[in-house]
Amino acid sequence: MSLDSSDVKKIAHLARLGISDDAVPEYATELSRILELVEQMNAVDTSAVSPMAHPQDVVQRLRPDEVTETDNRDGFQGVAPATEDGLYLVPRVIE
């Protein structure tokens, strides 16, 4: 799979990554090369193989729905770029 500049711009938008227009052709070349490497996987038929998500095939552990962590909002918001009254501040979303 070879990616062109418009593919790169679309992917960067999906990933919310700001990249400059100048850098787009180089990303297209590099990402295409990586996909070429990745597609070596297609040499083998895996239709009868089940996907492996956890190396020990462990299933998701469940726990009782109980409060186990104490409140540390001030601690967590202390490292935020902008907060006010316990809320995170971002540019206006709704006019």
């Binding site: 700001g18 590099e30 990402l31 990586i34 040499a43 083998v44 020990q56 490292v79 995170y88």
Partner: protein, 484 residues
Amino acid sequence: MHNKTIAELSAGLSAGEFSSVELTEACIQRISTLAGRSNCFITQTPERALEDAKHADQRRATGDFGPLTGIPIAHKDIFCTQGIRSSCASKMLDSFVSPYESTVSAKLKAAGTVLLGKTNMDEFAMGSSNETSFYGPVRNPWNHDVVPGGSSGGSAACVAARLASAATGTDTGGSIRQPAALCGITGLKPTYGRVSRYGMIAFASSLDQAGPMTRTAQDAAMMLQAMAGFDERDSTSVDVGVPDYSANLADSIDGLTIGLPREYFAEGLDSGVGDVLEQALETLRKLGATTVDIDLPNTSLAVPAYYVVAPAECSSNLSRMDGVRFGYRCEDPVDLEDLYKRSRGEGFGEEVKRRIMIGTYALSAGYYDAYYLKAQRVRRLISDDFTRAFDQVDVIMGPTAPSVAFALGSKTDDPIGMYLSDIYTIAVNLAGLPAMSVPCGFADELPVGLQIIGKPFEESRLLNVAHQFQQATDWHQRAPQEYL
């Protein structure tokens, strides 16, 4: 003092030959004069170290201590350490002072270790040469013109340069073993699920695993003892008992069967590295081990599958770096989308952006089955290869890396070439197996690592084999001239 192993330092502390404060002061002094040569630290924490050391001496005086109490170590800067910058070597987290503590660092703190600082690494652990760090590359203590390997390059360099007796590392595709090999130290990647990932900044969650980087296998056993164990805070942590990792170190390896994958000794392996490995295997045969050739037929699919699974998971994990709740935020965003895009575009380095984009593409609508699901299927084939091999052998051995450390800058413009430097380590992560790298000689005056791969949860056996090898050789005792 700096040439002593953890085991020797622990004995010295117990015998009252020196205090932890004296030991720590010596380490701080050495770091302040020597760390700059390799750039192995991002943050030095001398005040915290002295506090820890005083506390350790008090604990030893009152009898409330373990073997690691008072031992100075360093943490890879991927571990969140409360009140200390935890940057993951990224501009994105340059000002991130963690509000909470990772399980690994909390357990090592509880064991009484002394924190000397946070080590340099590839940005978000994405790299094999420690050249993608926002804080500049790390240089190999054996030769400052070559790379230390990555991503735990700072941890490897700091232990190789005798600036700390041990450091923590993390390994997603070889990031403990490859730098350990390139810097001539001992590194252990435990079984997936053995060590908690809580508070370890996530790169690829189904592959990431923390482990110790030390000078000897004996020290690695002591470190792993403190790091391993079930943790409710990590949903992939496995609830199996932690054995005494030091108990079997002295066992003979007479009768051990070692599998040598033909694919690991084929084209692509540097001949100098191959010669050194052959001598190491001869040493093991003299200790009573037998070697048999085995096949891991899907080896060539490991790097391709990894470069779907790891980027896919990284693109998901790194979506939390959005400039809203923590980390870097761009100047004067005009709207929310601009805030996201510029904060991430300016905060992440090139390699991280490449991997986020590959992962985003692989997970995007219409491509998930062809890439991610396909890779997860290939992953099972690779895992099955190992399972079959372990029916006839006790451990698998081969090179850790295809060559010795390469020149700084020589692969930075060639991402694929860089990816292939992990060709012998990546399959182990996909299969979730434990593996070690131990120093086994030199080629072109640079260290060579022997990789030892084991069955799930057989870290004790790996440590036993590595320790017996180190009893018969002195490669692990060699130190770079400039840091003697």
